[in-house]
Structure formats: C-alpha cells, structure tokens
Symmetry: C2
Subunit: 348 residues, 2 copies
DNA sequence: CACGCTGTTGTGAGCGCTAACAATCAAGCT
DNA sequence: AGCTTGATTGTTAGCGCTCACAACAGCGTG
C-alpha cells in the first residue's frame, strides 16, 4: 500500500538517446564530459536532456561504479555552537568535492549509539565517515569498532591511530594564560570542562604548562560540565575565595574552559559583588556569537570551524581515494580574541 | 588513478546464497522479513550472512525498488541554536522512520543557492526535502522552484501552498506581551527581527494584537538583525528614551524578538544605568541555553525543536508515501519561561 | 484418487547505468 | 593504393538486487 502518486517513470538515458537520435552510451559520454563527442552531437543530447527534464539515476550509477559519493557525519550534541559550526563547514567542503553528506546526530554518544550510527550509515553505503566525538570514551569506542570504511575524527585527539583534525586546544589555552599573566596577574585559576572530554584535557594541559614554565604553582582546578549553570557554581566558589582572601592563591584571574561556563562565572562574581575585570579577570574559550556581549565582553579563543570542516573532508577524501597517509593528525591554529573581561588592571 | 585500496569485492547476495545452500531469493526474503521462510532456512541464511559479513547493497536495492529512502534537509544558518536544534530533531525522527538524512547548509539563502541545493539533493535521488527557510523570500523561491519531490517547510509560514510545520510564533509573542502587561506595565516596546523573516513578522503581529486588544497604542517598532550587536544598538536607543522621558510612551517593558538581541539590549540598558527589571523589564524569544544566565536571567519563549523536527518528518513521509494531505500546516505550541528579567515591579 | 489449497523455494527478467570492446569513417602516412 | 591512426559512435555485458511467476511438496476435501 501507499506508493508515490505519480506512476509515470522519470525519463531514462535510453529515452534521451531516442530523443536525440544517438545511443545511450553517447548520452552517458556527454553527461560525464567525455572529450570525444562531436560538438553537434553534444548539443543535441544536451537539448534532449533539457526537453525531457532528464536526471541521471544515482542508484544505477552507484551500482555500477561502486561509488555512492556519499559521506557520513556522526556528531554528538549538534545543538552546541561548536559542533553545529563544524557541521556547516564539513558539509560545504564535501559538496565542493562532489559528495553528499548524511548526518547522524546522537544525543549522548554511548558505545551502542555509535555502533548503531555506523551501521545506519553503512547500510546506505557511505564511503567514509567524519566523527565529531570530543569525548575520549567515544574515540576509544570508535577505534574499536573497526568500521568498513575510513573514519576521520574531529577533536578526537591523536593518541589512537585514527586520522583526525583538531583545533590546537593546548595552544589556545596557552595563549589565554599567557595573556592573563602578561596583564599582570600573579596566578590564573581554571574552570575546566568535564573529565572525559579531550578538549578539557588539552585546555587544562596548556594552562598548566604555561604556569609551570613561569614557575607558578597551578591552583586547584574547578570542574564544570560546559553548561552555564556549572560555571555559575564554580563562580560562586571562586567568589567565596576571592572575598575570603584565605588560602595561598588569591583569585584575580580565571581561565574558563568555554564561553558558556564563563557566562555563569561572570554572573556568580557579579552577584558576589566582585567587579570584572577590575577585581577578577575572566577569559573563556570558543568565541560564541554572544561572547562579545557578555557583561563584560569576554576575552576568548576563536576556532576556525570552517577550516576544521574543510580539512577533515580533505583528509577523509584522501583516505577514500587511496592517497591515504596513515592516521595523520592535523592541527588548526586558534586565535586569541581580547576583550574587556581581561583588560589590564591599570587600564580598568 | 586512485581507487579504494581493497580490490576484494564485498560479498553479494549470491555469495550468501551459496554459503547457505539456498537461492539468492531466499536470502532476500530472510533479509526483508518475509513470513514464508522455514525457521531452519532462516537460521542458516542468518548464519551465512554473519559468517561472510554480508551487507545489502543499497544502490542495487534502490535501483530496483525506486526508493532511495533518503531525505534531504536544506537549512540556512545552521550554526544558530534554533536551526541546529531542529536539525537534530529532524534527523532522529527520520532515522526512526528508516530514512537517511542528507543536509545541505546554506550561509545565505539566495534563490540560486536554494536551487543549487535542490539540484544537489535531487542528483542523489532524495525522496523529499525539509527546508528550514525562515525568510519569506526563501519560501517564495522554494514555492516557485517546483522541485521533483515533496517539500515541507519549517517556519515557512502558511501563506504559500507548501506544507509545513511552525512554532506558533504569534501565540508565543502574545504570551510574552500579556505576561508583561499582567506584570503591571502600561505598554510594551518591541525590538523586532529583520523584515524578511516570517518569524519576525509573526512575533511582531502577536505583540501588536495583544496591545491593540487591550486598547493600547503600540509604540514604534525598533528593528534588529537577530545579532547581539543589533540588540545593543536598539537597547541604546531605548535607554535614551527611558532616561529622557520625552515622547508619549514611557519605556518600562521591552519584548525583544530573540534572546541574542535581548542580550544586547540588556547590556545597553545596564550601560545606560538602567536596572532590569526594576526600571525596565526585558523578555526574549527562543530560550537559548545561555538565557538562564543572562544578567538578569531572561524571561523568554521556549520552542520544542524536537517536536518540530518530528512533525515535519511525519508530514514529509506522509507526502512521500502517498497519504498526503495537501499543503497542510501544523503548529507547535510554545512555552513561556518566566525569569527574573520581567519580575513584577512590586517584587523587585 | 483427482483436485485445489497453502507454504516454501527456485528461476528468469530487468531496474538504469558504465566499462570494455567493436565498428565505422576520415585523415595521414608510406 | 594500402595501411595505420585517432576520433566518434554503437553494441554488449553485467553491477546486485527485487518482483513476478513457476515449481513442488504436503495436506485436506469431495
């Protein structure tokens, strides 16, 4: 029951051939831009195609060429700014390369969910997959899954032998931390992202490295879950510390691992009667569109998501088309965006 | 040059048939769950499939069934919270219905971009398309394009005869405006979204309707472009009006057409020395995750993006599978989220 | 015991396309 | 003229699958 309304079949290559008075093979040649076709013939075929409104049947083509020219994307949490932006970059790059992109969004990336996603994509014959799986456990699961096509990770770290593209998170964290030290702060507190996330780890590592290289003992790390609420809670704790002035490390500067949590921190500080940046400077990471309008405008690290998308597709297509370099990992440079939330103390 | 590394072809149905000692047709029957297969036979086939790691070739299947079981999604501005969330809902719903979703993201939805997107999707044989095209001109272009498959719009309005699903924007706007009036404000100002957007129009219409029904003359509408910056500019103007106290309509309450602009408005008011909500109440629309942590937490309207996604896919599949109802338009109910930014005056 | 029925399996055709090869023709060379 | 060459076109054989139909068993019925 229930079939498409129109029972008239779309025209086939044979129909076009008949209309143009040539063989179907000639039509095929015109369509794939083969050079050895007389200009006149090409013209006739093109006209016939237009007259009939012909469209090449992709299934038939895929069947014989064994190429579906379809790529899959698996993404966790696509509603967040980062993944969503990457997705756009990915799709545009793929389209330019002549591939179609099919997306599977997972709410939470449990191992089973990942396996199902891979199966779903495999069932439609994708030739490769880009996985936006920023959690360590997901990358682990992915590596063990052994998919029947190349898989490239985004923000997947480079410990495992899956090829991938990442922002240089550690460099970004270094930039922020150095910027805060340069602004005259004797130390920098850190509100990290959740434990399992590779981005958290890298950002924390960069922050810690800069402090240690400067001979500063890193204070205790506070941990959030990327949400504004968790930032708010961390901010309340920081506000308490800043006001109490007990403990060895005064709170004058905070590097928060993403902008959303930074928003929460800012609110908590404000509620604690602490002025930003005069009393405590705050910096984030991501440069979400709202960051410029936070109270105060937030110093943060911008990621070039389009570049990340472009390079992952490039890497994936390289693997698919056989000019693969094994488990290569590309890094994209971040950019420090300085705003009022970390204005040097003497200017505030 | 450059072909997939593995030259060994994946197993076919015939291979499985041989392995299981049956005909390829029996394998097909097992795969598609045909009832008339002996349990023993089914078992043998299943085992053979597993032994060989067989996967049904989707291209061959699509060729003969004339069904690709693929849906397209065209979205403008996928990095925004709304479209990104809708996309997730869409994809999950489609997966449940047994379809693959292919996305095309457009930066700006010029008519040509839309046409290219449709062509791109058509070239891969999608059976239908969901278009997230919230601008009037896009919907117009879409209606004129006359795609070779059903098209369902999201937030596409119901003027044109394209079927679609929308949030009841007007109702949302009414809820906010009524809420502000109920809180004791004599009038409500409005910062609208850009002109071409159907969402802007509906939100403005809802706001205006409530005021007029209450016998209040709506003040001049300020217009932004959804960005925090444009909200900031509108906020500066409002701050000026609020302080000058000239003009007939005092500024005590503002309904901003989205949360991002509301963020800008809040900042401008704060910079103008105006307290929210004590002096001016502000409400937004969308309930982005950050809204709860704005200074102060923002009263806004929440949209059930998952529901919107589910219902659009439902509508599209109905059209594809022939049980189409012509150009039907579904509305999803919004939800008013009350927070501190509009706390009644006597509580502040 | 012939007949029809139902359940189970197999056979053959063909979906619309590309790849490989064959055929044809004009041009260029010896 | 006879031969090679290259450009242009046509012919044929599948790609891996589902559909329609045929074949055959086992069973009950008149």
């Amino acid at each position: 029951m229930a079939h498409p309304a129109e029972d008239v079949r779309p025209p086939t290559m044979a129909d076009v051939a008949r209309e143009a008075g040539v063989s179907h093979q000639t039509v095929s040649r015109v369509l794939s831009g083969h050079p050895n076709v007389r200009a006149v013939t090409r013209e006739q075929v093109t006209l016939a195609i237009e007259r009939l409104g012909y469209r090449r049947n992709s299934a038939a083509r895929a069947l014989v060429t064994r190429r579906t020219r379809t790529l899959g994307v698996i993404a966790v949490n696509t509603a967040l700014y980062g993944p969503a932006s990457t997705l756009t970059g990915l799709e545009e790059a793929a389209r330019e390369e002549g591939y179609l992109v099919s997306t599977v969004s997972l709410r939470t990336g449990g191992g089973q969910g990942l396996k199902d996603a891979i199966d779903h994509l495999a069932a439609w014959g994708v030739e490769g997959v880009v996985a936006i799986t920023p959690q360590r456990s997901h990358v682990q699961a992915l590596a063990e899954l052994d998919a029947p096509f190349p898989v490239v990770t985004v923000e997947g770290g480079h410990q495992l032998d899956l090829p991938g593209v990442s922002l240089d998170q550690e460099l970004g964290a270094r930039m922020v931390t150095e910027h805060l030290l340069a602004a005259g702060h004797g130390n920098v507190w850190h509100v990290a992202g959740p434990d399992d996330w590779l981005e958290s780890e890298a950002r924390t590592a960069g922050w810690r490295a800069v402090l240690e290289e400067s001979g500063i003992r890193p204070p205790r790390v506070l941990t959030g879950d990327w949400s504004p609420l968790s930032g708010y809670r961390a901010g309340q704790e920081l506000a308490g510390l800043a006001l109490a002035r007990r403990g060895a490390t005064p709170v004058t500067a905070v590097f928060v691992a993403n902008d959303q949590m930074a928003l929460g921190v800012l609110r908590a500080l404000r509620e604690g009667g602490i002025r930003t940046p005069a009393q405590v400077a705050v910096a984030g990471f991501d440069d979400i569109p709202e960051a410029e309008f936070f109270p105060p405008p937030l110093t943060t690290v911008r990621q070039d998501f389009a570049a990340i998308g472009r390079r992952s597709i490039g890497l994936l297509v390289d693997h698919i088309e056989g000019r693969a370099r094994k488990a290569e990992h590309l890094l994209v440079e971040p950019q420090l965006i300085m705003r009022a939330s970390t204005r040097p103390l003497n200017e505030a």
